[in-house]
């Protein structure tokens, strides 16, 4: 989550009416996007290298889970079989080739039935000896269901709260909202999670405490089951999103409610609903939408603790198990995907900013 409300103020320079349009804004946006995309390649390379070196430096060894009964020579052999004996730079280069050259080919093959990637070595997880990407793909559904949905729910709850608290600033609702959201923000999920489980699974028996990732939703009943098992993790996660977003929404609404154009809108005789929900909201959403967009990478990054508490086994759990098992290719790939998402959504946020705010100029 990135409170980047004002990040883009640079774009919102004073409108300059004297400056005639030299380009079509759409084309400018495109150039801007492409430029940023191209620039992000070296950034990402640098990031990946930094992460790789960090992981290299990190202590720990993929053999740590092998029982102590296995003698060291055997562990050494196992290490060699994983390619750990090679110098780090060679390992990095191999990883780069695999992720940027071979994996795309695999994807291509998958879609078009070609065989470019035949026999090429993909990024293989040390733990499972299977391609990292396959596992990641396997994890995406539950991550999206739970973390993604919780984000959506959080947003949907946060926005009305933020809007109303700002409209009735210092009212009881506003005060209570502040209080509750701050509490929500300050309670760690490893507390709320088990608490909910004790209440709703153990005492009341309403919801399962363990998430079933194999459930296929194909009927009303299975949908209900899915709903039941999703409800607790989604709520725990949504609490955090709500707490933060409603603060942003409130601040942004407050900024705009005092603007002159609001008075103009009222002077036209528009109803309060239209004034607030059309004129003010649209303007207030500009910074909030970018904040929302910047929070999206976190969805794909999963929610390590919550996933763990409810056994959702999404990306977050994958990352944490890989970390503790020192499964370098897996950790590397996941963090890299995460970095890509961060960079991408930074870009998307900037573009969204421009889409929503006609004043933005891309240069």
């Amino acid at each position: 989550m990135d409170p980047d409300v004002k990040n883009n103020a640079a774009f919102a320079q004073d409108p300059n009416a004297n400056t005639p349009k030299t380009h079509d804004p759409r084309r400018r946006m495109l150039t801007f996007a492409i430029r940023r995309l191209v620039l992000s390649v070296p950034t990402l390379l640098f990031i990946s290298f930094a992460i790789f070196m960090l992981l290299q430096l990190a202590p720990g060894d993929p053999m740590s889970q092998v029982p102590l009964t296995v003698p060291p020579e055997v562990k050494e052999q196992m290490r060699q079989a994983l390619g750990l004996g090679e110098p780090p730079l060679v390992q990095y280069w191999k990883w780069l080739v695999q992720i940027f050259w071979i994996e795309p080919q695999v994807l291509w093959d998958h879609w078009f039935g070609t065989t470019f990637s035949e026999g090429q070595l993909r990024v293989i997880s040390w733990q499972t000896r299977s391609p990292v990407m396959d596992i990641v793909l396997q994890r995406i559904p539950q991550t999206l269901w739970v973390v993604g949905l919780s984000y959506v729910v959080g947003v949907l709850i946060a926005l009305p709260i933020g809007i109303y608290s700002a409209y009735r600033q210092y009212s009881v609702f506003d005060q209570a909202g502040t209080f509750i959201t701050m509490i929500g923000f300050s309670i760690p999920p490893f507390f709320t999670g088990p608490l909910l489980i004790v209440i709703f699974s153990v005492q009341l028996g309403w919801f399962p405490s363990i998430y079933d990732t194999t459930l296929v939703v194909n009927s009303w009943d299975t949908f209900m089951v899915q709903l039941q098992q999703m409800i607790m993790p989604v709520m725990v996660l949504a609490l955090q999103t709500t707490a933060q977003l409603s603060r942003y929404m409130r601040a942004s609404m407050l900024d705009n409610l005092n603007q002159d154009y609001v008075r103009t809108a009222r002077a036209k005789g528009l109803s309060e609903a239209v004034v607030v929900m059309v004129h003010v909201l649209r303007n207030s959403m500009i910074p909030v939408v970018t904040v929302i967009a910047l929070g999206v990478p976190a969805i794909f990054g999963g929610a390590i603790i919550t996933e763990n508490v409810f056994k959702v086994n999404g990306i977050g759990q994958l990352l944490i198990t890989a970390l503790f098992a020192n499964d370098l290719p897996m950790v590397m790939t996941l963090t890299f995907i995460f970095a890509v998402l961060i960079v991408t959504f930074n870009l998307i946020a900037d573009i969204l900013y421009g889409v929503l705010d006609p004043r933005i100029r891309y240069d």
Partner: protein
């Protein structure tokens, strides 16, 4: 007074709930507006003009105000008079925008930036007139034509920021007029605008009033505008009405001392006719001596030659320079010691850029600047910093040019701290002296900018500029944002300082009346170039360049008997100063019409 007044305000009292208890905004204000009549409400900032008008719209509640007493009688279209002060907000919604239209002070912020002009224009129509989208659009187009916006069809699909200030203000006017209101409230509709655009807007409102018979309540603090527009005038002072009368009565025979003082403070174009040298204004009540002319000397202090400043416009994939803003083109002038050169011209013509380029706050592209024979252009950053000891700048916006987080003595002390000119108690003494000099009480030393009025702030800015004993002060619209009365004081202060300390000023302004008052010489700028340069009397009394002539015509005169008619105005929109890379404009060629009076003969774009 009038038979069928459209609106009658009786004993209005508005209070604001603040943290320090209730504050009275206006008190016991009564006046009427008849059909087809323009009532001007004047008074300095904070006197309660806006509060009265917002109360009439019942919008004051949204700003934390409360109508504590009085009646706001409004004659509705379907006959019948109602008291708006008692009406509920639902009823008000049907009146607002429908029967009463309002034009707001700030064209830049009065429009919602994220909706197209068309959407904002049609909104009211669809609510009040129940029009379909299509009908409303047709009507919107009609309105746009009525307010004479060029290319009205295209404007409807544009966003507010894509329009110039003048166009935006016209859109706001069109919005206010959309439902053919019976009463139009215009709250300082032109304060933020250029002379030329102001003239156009005033003419527009006047014409609409004549054509539709709408009653107009016109709020302003600019007496020249009042003289142009008003049928009757209401003068407000500190939340109360102090005087009311027809425009002639007020101007020719003001009764209340405040009105008298106000009128005395208004610089009138043409007042200086026949005088060669500038002299301070005679303010009412200042028992001071007769204003003395300021001669200055003939020794050249600042010599600017062929100054050119361009801003690159970056674009394309590699963010290379694709075009340049030619903000200042081939500018040459001299300023003598103890004299004032004024630069005038429309917004965006490059005045500020010129001023900043001289200080090298913006790096000029080429040209030479010599201050006291020191070549400013050749200095490196460190020497430039010391060179700035001799030239200081006062900025346009007294609200923006002081750091809100620093107290006044620190702000004034800052230049001395930077250069270590004075220390400890010497510095304190000097700050106190400067405060005395600009007539600020010493008790203000520990205040923060927000605790001061605009005029006081501008005086702090002047004190700061004086702190280092500069030889040249560049005053970039130093008085434009101030109330007339305050403006007069600040202008007088600057001229006194000039007389006493022998300061030179580069005075940048678009207010011709003030310029006439202060300048020894005047340069008229257009599109980055000086189109006419000469002694003030020559330029004002004998303008040669067509642009200068047009500019002079647009200036409203604070005399109700010398109203301008719309026909006098012929302005073309300023062409773009942006040119592609490689475009090299020709040099400026001047013709000397009289000694020291030059007129541009090469193409200026006008």
């Amino acid at each position: 007074m009038l038979d069928h007044a459209i609106a009658r305000i009786q004993n209005l009292r508005v209070e604001f709930e603040t943290k320090d208890g209730p504050v009275v905004g206006v008190e016991d204000v009564s006046f009427e507006i008849g059909p087809g009549e323009t009532v001007c409400v004047v008074g300095e900032s904070g006197s309660g003009k806006s509060v009265s008008s917002l109360s009439l719209m019942r919008l004051i509640e949204y700003g934390g105000g409360d109508i504590a007493g009085g009646r706001l009688l409004f004659d509705r279209r379907e006959g019948g008079e109602i008291d708006l002060a008692q009406a509920d907000q639902d009823l008000m919604r049907t009146i607002r925008g429908n029967e009463i239209g309002m034009i707001f002070q700030e064209p830049m912020t009065a429009l919602n930036p994220v909706f197209t002009v068309g959407k904002q224009l049609t909104e009211g129509l669809r609510v009040h007139r129940g029009m379909t989208k299509h009908e409303a659009e047709a009507r919107a187009l009609e309105l746009m034509q009525q307010v004479r916006i060029p290319e009205p069809e295209r404007r409807l699909t544009q966003y507010p920021h894509e329009l110039s200030g003048g166009m935006r203000q016209r859109v706001v006017i069109a919005m206010a007029l959309a439902c053919k209101p019976r009463l139009l409230i215009a709250d300082e509709p032109t304060t933020a605008l250029d002379v030329t655009i102001q003239a156009e807007i005033l003419a527009l409102i006047d014409r609409l009033k004549r054509e539709t018979g709408t009653a107009v309540m016109f709020i302003t603090h600019d007496m020249a505008v009042v003289a142009q527009m008003a049928d009757r005038v209401v003068v407000m002072f500190r939340g109360k009405k102090v005087e009311e009368g027809t425009v002639e009565e007020i101007f020719e025979n003001p009764q209340h001392p405040y009105t008298q003082a106000l009128l005395a403070a208004v610089p009138k174009l043409g007042e200086m006719t026949g005088k060669a040298l500038p002299e301070p204004m005679k303010l009412l009540g200042s028992d001071a001596q007769e204003p003395k002319p300021i001669p200055g000397s003939d020794e050249v202090l600042l010599r600017v030659r062929n100054l050119t400043t361009r801003f690159p416009v970056k674009g394309g994939f590699f963010r290379s320079t694709v075009a340049n803003v030619h903000a200042v083109e081939d500018l040459s002038f001299d300023i003598q010691k103890g004299q004032t050169l004024s630069l005038v011209g429309e917004s965006g013509c490059g005045k500020s850029t010129a001023g900043r380029s001289i200080l090298r706050l913006i790096e000029p592209l080429s040209g030479s600047i010599e201050l006291d024979r020191k070549d400013i252009m050749a200095l490196n950053q460190r020497d430039l910093r010391t060179a700035r000891l001799d030239m200081q700048m006062i900025f346009q916006d007294p609200f923006a040019s002081l750091n809100p987080q620093m107290n006044l003595s620190d702000q004034v002390a800052e230049p001395m701290r930077n250069f270590d000119t004075l220390k400890g108690s010497d510095m304190d003494d000097r700050i106190a002296m400067l405060f005395d000099r600009v007539e600020l009480p010493r008790s203000f030393l520990r205040r923060f900018p927000h605790e001061l009025s605009g005029g006081q702030r501008q005086r702090v800015a002047i004190a700061r500029a004086l702190a280092l004993n500069p030889k040249l002060i560049i005053a970039d619209e130093a008085v434009s944002a101030l109330d007339v009365s305050v403006q007069a004081q600040v202008v007088n202060l600057m001229m006194e300082l000039q007389a006493e300390l022998g300061l030179s000023f580069l005075f940048i302004s678009h207010d011709m009346a003030v310029v006439e008052r202060v300048s020894h010489k005047v340069g008229v700028m257009y599109l980055g170039r000086i189109v006419e340069l000469g002694p003030r009397a020559a330029v004002f009394e004998n303008p040669q360049h067509p642009y200068t002539q047009a500019l002079m015509k647009a200036v409203p005169i604070a005399d109700p008997r010398r109203r301008k008619s719309e026909k006098d105005l012929n302005f073309k929109p300023i062409p773009s100063p942006i040119h592609p890379v490689g475009y090299e404009p020709g040099p400026s060629v001047f013709d000397q019409v009289s000694p020291g009076h030059y007129v541009l003969t090469s193409d200026s774009g006008y």
